[in-house]
Symmetry: C2
Subunit: 405 residues, 2 copies
């Protein structure tokens, strides 16, 4: 039976593909501290569940294909805080940020077209691009430079006649880098020069630390005609299972075309949208508290990882990730080993190997992403396990090398 | 700014694109009886809402990418009734049948590959295929033949080296045709001969009338390695807004590959899955009652439309649609006119022009789809409006022709 090239070429989710080893570890009675996925342990605000419980209709019917109007209006109010002036017909509610990115790529690119992506990037971009046959072309950042935004010339070197857009997340998953307004404006100018779209994933917008102020790329009004902003409530409100995301754009051509796709799949799930209307009434105080919590965790992660010998990383400024260069040859092997052959008093930890967050297979082989989605005590414990694991692993690999000599 | 060819070539949803005219009619105070979309007026069973209300976790977190295991197990039990023996790892829960079809097309076909589709077909297949650049090749049925399954030779005439699958729904949306076990087996034999996949959309499986027995294509065990079965709870449980669908297959290669896509988009919405676990505990009695209700409505629609002069159609055997040949040149113009220029005592009706359910633009121009998703009184009223509208429209077009002579 024929299986398409596009899925053959697709990697299994680098975040999820090691999960079977974690499951086996658990069956052996080992407790696994999961710092590998972006599923926070923070409670979803009760108002989300309350709004759904109080839903008064007796049919769970299709919503508008672009999402419930009241929800879109609530989002417009939300963005007003960032001096972004959107109307409800400039927003399309999607099944998480995931669907928003798949739809966006479909609308702006044909098979074989290219999209520049700041690397390392959220690994699932590869799956989305593969599904609609768009080629991701990496513009790389490095751990040594603290994963800062590449220079304009680095982008220009990758632009061809097939380039349609530049894609990145800000704050960046997986690196925790936060790009400044100046950096963003440089990219926007570049996009204008080469007539490219900008797809900016702002799922972690509010998670910026050390007194940085969150902003949206849509506040750059002069460039708004080429901006597609991606958002999601998953992280901000700890409601990943709602799968409520959106795309927002001032470009009317884009909107007209994306609505065709939105209509074909009818609508996003209705009840999670109802719950989100509740979430959006929470105001800034809730968000500020969440941000404080993650900053606190970031500080602990930073402090604890600093105690571990041989790691290289800089203090991340946003999101809830830190990417770390490990003193190992192949971080995926090490992560797997932590699950299959290592524990400290019945505990081990799981982080995400970073190679899947790069386009080329041999890139990022020594890096991992640590998601600080657990509470302070668990983060401390996981860090000490990582430290002890590295020492033990180093000993083992040296012995192995000696044997192989 | 670049807009892709694929979306440029995509039609706006033929079911939804006339909605602005309906909205305008409502603003003028006209009541519109909607027989154009598959959104039933029947209540979603209370147990769906109860299960969601009683959800005891305080985080709405990602589910398994293939859907909640308990839900998949419930579906396995559900299919047992049809002598289909599935295990939970042969099912992937999707965002409605829509996502199941998009995923399936991605897995079995590359851009430029062809999928044969029994025509007329559910219009949104075009959008799904367009999004992933798969070419739909029609194998046509006709109103004159009661839209019965085409002959094998009709399929064979369309098979090329690029053909990857045959796609159809059974019972058929939009025609209401129900294909027999014999007809299905013939198609399966054909698929085997040419090594093609079969994608069978069974969203309306249980809605078969006149003592027909529902069955699933997966009961043909000898062919199960090439079958992808699509399902959804939307119609069966009147829960379109849940967006809970699935794909089921015994083919392990397909499953391994589709999981990559499922993992990339993380998971379907969690709470609607919880509600669906409740729905699946309802048993056959609920389903039998729903089927009776639709058979009753089908009988009324049939009786009422029979009173209307100049219509051509056969008694549909399943789903909740009937496709009807109208005595007009262009059914889309007529449907639009019903909304913009016609009413009977402040009421008008809306049906779906059928041209959008065909691949070629000039096909199906005189047909419409009537969805009997309203109660008996409303169906009677809508039918009489349709009858009066046709008489009035006929008069107007004759006058117009006289003027134009």
């Amino acid at each position: 039976m024929n299986i398409s090239e596009r899925v053959n070429n697709m990697q299994a989710s680098p975040i999820r593909r090691l999960i079977p080893y974690a499951e086996k570890a658990k069956k052996r009675g080992i407790k696994v501290l999961h710092l590998n996925i972006g599923q926070p342990d923070i409670k979803t605000p009760q108002i989300y569940f309350d709004y759904i419980k109080n839903y008064s209709h007796n049919i769970d019917s299709y919503s508008h294909s672009a999402g419930i109007v009241e929800l879109r209006e609530k989002f417009c109010e939300f963005y007003n805080y960032y001096d972004v002036n959107l109307s409800s017909d400039e927003i399309v509610i999607t099944q998480g940020g995931s669907e928003a990115i798949i739809m966006s790529l479909s609308v702006i690119a044909d098979p074989g077209d290219e999209v520049l992506v700041v690397e390392p990037f959220y690994a699932n971009y590869k799956g989305f691009a593969g599904m609609v046959n768009v080629n991701l072309v990496p513009v790389s950042t490095t751990p040594e430079a603290g994963y800062k935004m590449p220079e304009i010339i680095d982008f220009e070197n990758k632009i061809t006649e097939k380039t349609r857009a530049i894609l990145f997340s800000n704050p960046c998953n997986p690196t925790g880098a936060v790009y400044s307004k100046n950096e963003i404006e440089r990219i926007l100018k570049l996009a204008k020069k080469y007539n490219l779209w900008i797809i900016c994933d702002e799922v972690y917008r509010e998670f910026v630390f050390d007194n940085l102020e969150p902003f949206s790329i849509l506040s750059f009004g002069d460039y708004s005609d080429r901006i597609i902003m991606i958002d999601s409530i998953s992280k901000r409100y700890s409601a990943c299972g709602a799968r409520v995301g959106l795309l927002a754009t001032k470009n009317k051509d884009f909107h007209r075309e994306v609505i065709k796709i939105a209509q074909a799949r009818l609508s996003p799930s209705t009840l999670p949208q109802i719950g989100t209307i509740g979430l959006l009434s929470l105001g800034r105080e809730y968000i500020n508290n969440i941000k404080k919590e993650y900053q606190y965790r970031r500080d602990i992660v930073y402090e604890e990882l600093n105690k571990v010998d041989g790691l290289y990383f800089k203090k991340p400024k946003g999101a809830f990730y830190v990417s770390v260069l490990l003193p190992v040859d192949d971080s995926e092997k090490f992560v797997k080993w932590l699950l299959t052959d290592f524990n400290v008093n019945g505990y081990t930890t799981m982080v995400a190997p970073l190679s899947g967050f790069y386009v080329a297979k041999d890139s990022g082989k020594r890096e991992v992403r640590v998601a600080y989605v657990l509470d302070d005590e668990k983060i401390k414990l996981a860090s000490s396990i990582l430290a002890k694991g590295l020492i033990e692993y180093d000993k083992l690999t040296k012995e192995e090398k000696l044997i192989n000599v």
